[in-house]
Structures are given as C-alpha cells and as structure tokens.
C-alpha cells in the first residue's frame, strides 16, 4: 500500500517538476536577451530568422561568438579582439568575441553547451573533432543551401574564398551540402620513415633503400647486437606504418576496421576489412617478430608509452610513427620542437605503398583537417560567414588572428617575417596557424625555413585525387554496431600493430570484430560508397589544382 502511495507521489512530483520547469525556462530566453545579447528579443529573433538582412545596415554591431580551438586559455584575447574589432566593425558591422577553449575540453565546453542550445556563431569542426557527429546531431548549418533559412551563405558572402579553396569545398560536402569551411593548408600527407641521423651515419645506412620493415631488419639487428646500444631500442613505433601501409589514411573516420586501398592514380577501389587484408596481418606478424627480437621498447603497446619522449631524446634509430610534409619540413619541425640541440633527424618518403610509386594522394580526411562551422544556434550566421570570409581574404584579419598585434605579440623583421615576442600569450595559445583561414597567406615565422610553403605546395602539386576523395560515411543506421566494434578494436589495435600477442590473439580479434557487427558495417559503408560513387565518378588521374597566392 505504502509503495503505491509512494510511486503515485513520485509521479506527481515529476509532473510538478516538469510543469514548474516549463514556464520558468520558456521565459528565460527573454531574460537572457535583456542582460546578455543586445539583439535577442524573441520578436527580433524572428525577423532575423526569416529574412537574411544585409549586415552593413545601421544598428548595434552584432557580437560574433567564436569558439576558438586553443592550446590553452589566454588573457590576451581581449587585446587581439579589440584590434580586430576596430578593423572589422566598419566592414561588416560586427565585432568578434573569441572564447578560447583548451583543446582537451572541447567536448565539455563547446559540444555540451551547443547541444543545450547555447548561442555560438563559429566553431572549429574538422573531420577529427566531431564533424560528422555534429552534422548528424543537427548542430551545424548548411553553408550552401539556397533553400536554407539564410540562403546560400557561402556563395553569397564568400564567393572568392570558395573559389580559392577549390576541392577543399567539394571534398567536405555531406549529403550534398557543405557544413564546414576549411582552412587552406597542405592537403596530402605522405608516409615515410623518420631516421636518427647519428645512427644513419654510424651504421652507414643508405636510407633511400629502406622502404619496408623487411628492408630495415638487417640494420635493426646490427643495432641491437652493438654493445654500445645497451638499453636503447632501435625501432620507435606505437603502431604507425604509413611508410608501407597500402591503405589511405582515415577512409571512414571513427571506423578503423574498414579501409580502402590507396591504389594508383585513376584506379577504383572498394571498402574492405582492414584486419583481414594480408598486408595488415603480415605487418603485425613482422612486428611481433621484431618485438620478440627486442627491436621495440617492450611497453610500446601501452598508452603511457609516449614516442615523443624517445624521439626527443634521440633514443631510437628509426621511427614509423610520423607522417611527412614534403622536403625535410617534418624533420625540421620535430628537431625545432625537441628542445634537444643535439638531435638530428632525417626523413625519407617511402614509395612502396602502391605500384606507381606516387604516394602523394589527396584524401577526404586531409581535406577536412581543419574546418569552421556555423552552429544552428547562431543568431546571425550572415555576420559569421562574413567573418570567415575575412579570415581567408583579408591578410590584416588573418595576421591579427595568427600572430596577434604587432609590437605587442610579435615584431616584424625587415624581410617581413614574424618574430614572436617571448611569452606573448597569443601565438602559442591559439590552436595553431593551420586552424586559421588561409595558411599560405600568413606571415612566416623568422625561425622557419623561408621555403616552407614552397615545399608544402610542391608536394601538393604532384599529388593525385583518390577515388574516395569527398566520400563521407553517415553512421547513424549502424551506430550500435560501430560502438561494439570500437570497443573491440580499441582494445586490440595498438597491441597488434606493435606486435604484442599477434599469434595468440589475431584471429580471435578478427572474430570478435565480426561478432560485433563488422559485416553489417562494411555492407553499410559499401552501399553508401557505391551510391556516392554513382553521383561522383572519378576524374581519372586528376591532378590537384593549386592556386598559389597572389
């Protein structure tokens, strides 16, 4: 009896709470409007929502909330904002408000608020930071939908930037619409090996002859047999194998077990199961042999093993973990960052991933490596789009965002390079140059190779488009299988690729993937891919169009 009364009361309480909650919350937006944003009276909202207004009309400047992907939070954002606002307010009648979100907090500080409906105008939403998720959760506005509430934003307010971006636009469309406006940066990221030059010289290795694990075995053996090297492991790997993997990187983000072969320019490929490919298994088995021979650090497969530390200390001979950037750009960057003045690295781009030898391939993942989106909660997407346009077209805005205020955060050298002031709190606080507008229009830092952009562009110039460039998988229908599969592959993936327990677990691992629904997922991906392919036939051997800056 008392139970019944209790449950009845409980239900009543819930109803009461729900009822009580309703009026409070439904009136609250107008409260918000009064105190926080000047243009948020519900009626005004409506007007804005129905007719895209010309932004340069008179009235209070709109404040664009820019959720900035950052290294850390900084107190310098106000200084940079002030400088930018002074410049942009006459141009677009809007001001900018950077909210610097430390990268690790992105989910809690941006996605949670966004899902609760908080106002934001620009967010960072690349391929690898929930691009597809945000779209399928309905959080982003389509930027090129003429039927949308604000019309075709990007072609109306940023036509030149769109043209300049070329395939960065076409490759990022999902279901026919674009939701993220890319940063212009390097597009193909080739695989290769990173060598420690000290040991290359000591053992007199011709690194251009080492393309695969098999090629390096003799050197690894030589290394461990040398008593001078006690306690040092020659092969530094946490499972990367970009140097000889026959697959493209990140064919379907978040679904590691399904991949596509790189193949040769102009060839068609089909989705396939990563772990069942003979190359994958052979690689894991070789790694197991190496692991047992003591070529790798015995803890390579554990999360707390960090390859950076061994790289920085120069305690390795060759590493498979780094993807390259053309020329010696990556090696130079790593050396500069290592803080170890004695470290000498040399990179070598391998060519055995396909039979043509040209492994400079443009794939979807890299096209979407850095994008900005406009959330549905924006109260003025037009202003947001105009601001994004400025980031691509206006070098004043671009360099203010990238380097801060001249004289405060950096100095300009005589030859036009940026010389950042120590601890200036800006250029190390934001997420990096590659998150901002058009990277090739930014000023280069004084301590970098002046030819950096040329090297990166040269690499891009000889690149070719993979047949899957622009394909994106919408995972909603098989989400539960993907979850089950992720748990399995998360557990085993790194262990397998570093050669731990391959003989014992490999087949059971593949079986577990199937039990988790690999076949269903593979079928769903294949189906979507074929449907997409029918609409987007491959342009055979299409070279990458590069528009060098004016």
């Amino acid at each position: 009896m008392s139970k019944k009364i209790l449950s009845l009361l409980l239900v009543l309480a819930m109803v009461f709470v729900f009822a009580a909650c309703q009026p409070t919350t439904s009136t609250s937006p107008s409260d918000d409007a009064g105190t926080e944003s000047p243009a948020a009276e519900p009626s005004e909202d409506g007007e804005e929502a129905t007719e895209p207004t010309e932004p340069t009309t008179t009235g209070d400047a709109y404040e664009i909330t820019y959720m900035m992907y950052s290294t850390t939070s900084s107190d310098q954002d106000a200084v940079v904002e002030a400088a930018i606002n002074e410049y942009i307010q006459p141009l677009i009648n809007a001001t900018i408000d950077f909210i610097m979100i430390p990268a690790g907090d992105w989910k809690e500080k941006v996605l949670t608020p966004l899902q609760s409906g908080e106002k934001m105008d620009i967010i960072f939403t690349p391929e690898w930071v929930y691009y597809m998720d945000n779209i399928s959760k309905g959080l982003l506005l389509a930027l090129d939908d003429p039927e949308g509430p604000y019309g075709d934003l990007m072609n109306t307010y940023a036509p030149e930037a769109v043209e300049n971006l070329g395939a960065f636009i076409s490759a990022n469309r999902v279901n026919g619409y674009l939701y993220g406006f890319a940063t212009k940066k390097e597009l193909c990221v080739p695989g290769g090996l990173m060598w420690n030059a000290d040991y290359v010289e000591k053992y007199n290795i011709d690194i251009t002859t080492v393309e695969t694990l098999a090629d390096m075995e003799q050197y690894l053996k030589m290394f461990v047999e040398d008593p001078d090297n006690a306690g040092v492991y020659p092969l530094l790997s946490t499972g990367g194998w970009s140097h000889e993997s026959p697959f493209i990187q990140g064919f379907v983000s978040n679904v590691e077990p399904v991949v596509m072969r790189m193949g040769n320019p102009g060839e068609e490929q089909v989705p396939e199961s990563y772990w069942e490919a003979p190359e994958t298994k052979a690689f894991c088995q070789t790694m197991e042999k190496f692991y047992q021979a003591g070529y790798l650090h015995p803890d390579s497969y554990l999360t707390s093993f960090s390859n950076m530390d061994y790289l920085n200390a120069g305690q390795f001979m060759v590493s498979t973990d780094y993807v390259l950037k053309g020329g010696q750009v990556k090696a130079n960057e790593l050396m500069a960052q290592s803080g170890n003045s004695e470290l000498r690295l040399v990179e070598y781009q391998t060519h055995k991933n396909n039979s043509s030898g040209n492994t400079n391939v443009n794939v979807t993942t890299h096209a979407g490596g850095s994008m900005l989106g406009i959330p549905v909660t924006s109260k003025n997407p037009v202003a947001a789009m105009q601001y994004i346009n400025l980031m691509h077209m206006d070098t004043t805005v671009l360099n203010l965002m990238a380097w801060g205020v001249e004289g405060v955060h950096y100095n300009l050298t005589e030859d036009g390079y940026a010389d950042p002031i120590d601890n200036n709190g800006w250029n190390n606080a934001h997420g990096g140059m590659w998150t901002i507008g058009d990277q090739f229009k930014q000023i280069i830092s004084a301590n970098e190779d002046p030819a950096k952009y040329e090297q990166m562009l040269a690499l891009t110039a000889e690149a070719w488009n993979h047949c899957s460039l622009g394909f994106r998988f919408v995972p909603d229908a098989v989400a539960s299988q993907i979850t089950a599969m992720t748990t399995v592959s998360d557990s085993y993936s790194r262990s397998m690729r570093t050669g731990v327990g391959v003989t014992d677990n490999y087949d059971s691992f593949v079986q577990q993937l199937y039990d988790a629904g690999l076949q269903t997922v593979l079928d769903a991906i294949t189906e979507q891919y074929n449907a997409w392919k029918a609409e987007n036939p491959t342009d055979p051997g299409a070279a990458w169009e590069v528009s060098v800056n004016e």
Binding site: V17, F18, Y301, T303, T377, T483, T486, D515
Partner: protein, 332 residues
Amino acid sequence: MTTTLSNETKRAIKKRKKWGSGEVKRHIAFFTMLIPGLVFMFCFNYMPMPAIVMAFQDYKLMMPPADSFVQNPFIYTLLNNDFVGFGNFSFLFTSRDTQIFLRNTICYNLAFMFIGLFFSVGLAIGVNELRQRFLAKLYHTILFLPYFLSWLIVTYLLYALICSNGVFNKIATALGRPTMNLYNQTSAWPLIFVIANIWRYTGNNSIIYLATITGFDQQLYEAAAIDGAGKFRQFQHITFPLLIPTIVLLQILAVGRIMNGDFDMFYCLPNGAGAIREATLTIDVYVYNALKSGAQLGYPAAAGLFQSVVGLIMVVTTNAIVRKVQPDMAMF
C-alpha cells in the same frame, strides 16, 4: 528496547488520523528543517530530471520558430523530438560483449562491497582500539592519503610496479625467477582491481564507521569490562551489533550502484593493453566507447537510465528484505 518502543509509536502514529496540537507544531519545525535540502535538490536534481526522456528519443537539436511558445531550444527539442521507444537501449544489449560487461560490472561491485566492508570496519576498529592515540591518528591519516591520488596517477604508479622493467620484474630477476607481463595476463586483473580499490578507498570508507563507533556510549564498554568481557566479546556483543545499522545502510546504498562502475579505474589502469579486455570491460567503459564513436545523446541517456532502474530495483528489493528481517534498519 528503544527500537521496539519506537516501532509501536510509529504504528500508533500511523493509525491515528487526527493531528495533535503539538504534532502540528512539531511538523512545522520539521518542514522548515527540510527546506534547504529540498531547495538544493529541486535546483540541481529535479529540475533537469525531465530530460530523462532523452533516453527514448533520437535527440537532434531543433531551434524553436519565432512564434513558438517555448523559446528555449533545449526544451523545445525535448518536446518535439521523435520518440524511438527502446531503440536507444539496443546498443547495450545486442552486443556480444553484453554478457562480459554485465558480468564484470556486477562481480567487481560485489567484490568491492564485501571485501571493502571487511577492511573498512577492521581498520575503524583497529584505529579505535589502539592505545597510542597519536599513532592511531597518524596511521589513519596515512591510510586516507591514497584517496587523493587520482586513478590516472595510480595508473602510472601501477605501471612503475608491473611494467617490463618495473619493480616486480626487477625483484623477479634478482630472485632468478622468470619475468612476467601482467598487462597481458587476464587472470591477474580481477586481483589488481580489487587491491587497487581496497587500497584507495579503505581509509576513506572507514571514516563513517569510525565516526559511528566514536559516538557509541562508552559506559556500555565499561560495564562490559567490569563484567569481565574481553575485547573480542565486546566487539561481538556491543560494537558489531551497534554498527550493523550503518553497515546495512551503506550496503543498501552500494547495491544501488551495482550497475555503475568506477570508470576511471577500469579505463585507466589497464593502460590500453588489449588482450585483457575480458577482465576490464565494464558497462561504463562500453558507454564511453559509444560516445567516442559518435553516439548520439540518447545512448548514454539510455545506459544511465538502465543503470538507475536496475539500482532502484535492487535497492527496493534489498530494502524490502531488510524490512522483513529488521524493520528499523530499513532505509525507507
């Protein structure tokens, strides 16, 4: 004696429909005491509670049109989203791993409950009885310290102990024994988790028992001592019976969390080692993976609701059993 008396009073009060004058006044006082707590719970627990419907929805943010009565996007979305029934729960129950993570979650929780209880009560009694009060306090402070080390730090400590050239293997080598790799041994992990859990929480959990024991009437012990009862008999006949209500209560509460797990512990300690997942996969780890692979909000909401409902059923059942046996110890 007080217990039976109070029960009778309780029953008598229940039967009596009319309120006495003193009783009305007393209840007014009681209600004023409840107010601060009720306000807190209303604001932070009950106000967001209706959003539990998310578990049955395909949550997609919708912006309210300008003429909508509800202008809050979140509430508007909850009111207008499609209901998908129990669809969101399917990811929990259609996996091959379901059996594994349910088994692990429940078994680990039971192990932590009982073994933890033994150690916490033992520690409380030991510390309470020690003759050297200063040392007792010092011991307890030290035993309380691990509680402040996050699981992430513990992960590094464990790594230092059991990794390939960690302390254990160095000792093994020195003794001429073969080295072992615990990160690949499934059978070792239940023990590791239990030890880690006991190590981190015992000092902390014993505080409640310690505070309770401290509050006991010392005259009882003195009387017992005069009657010639030794320490063990005092424990048997005074401390333990008096401690039972607290023990029972804490176990009822623990039963309510039988489906929840100490996520950080299960996720961090294995350090990414794969072969041992049979022993390390719990429901929270599974849900975390769902989120990582981009599941929509309905999934974790569904999982949370499942954990809560199981907890509720467990608590109500346990409580009913306790009520049958010893009505005064029941929670409600």
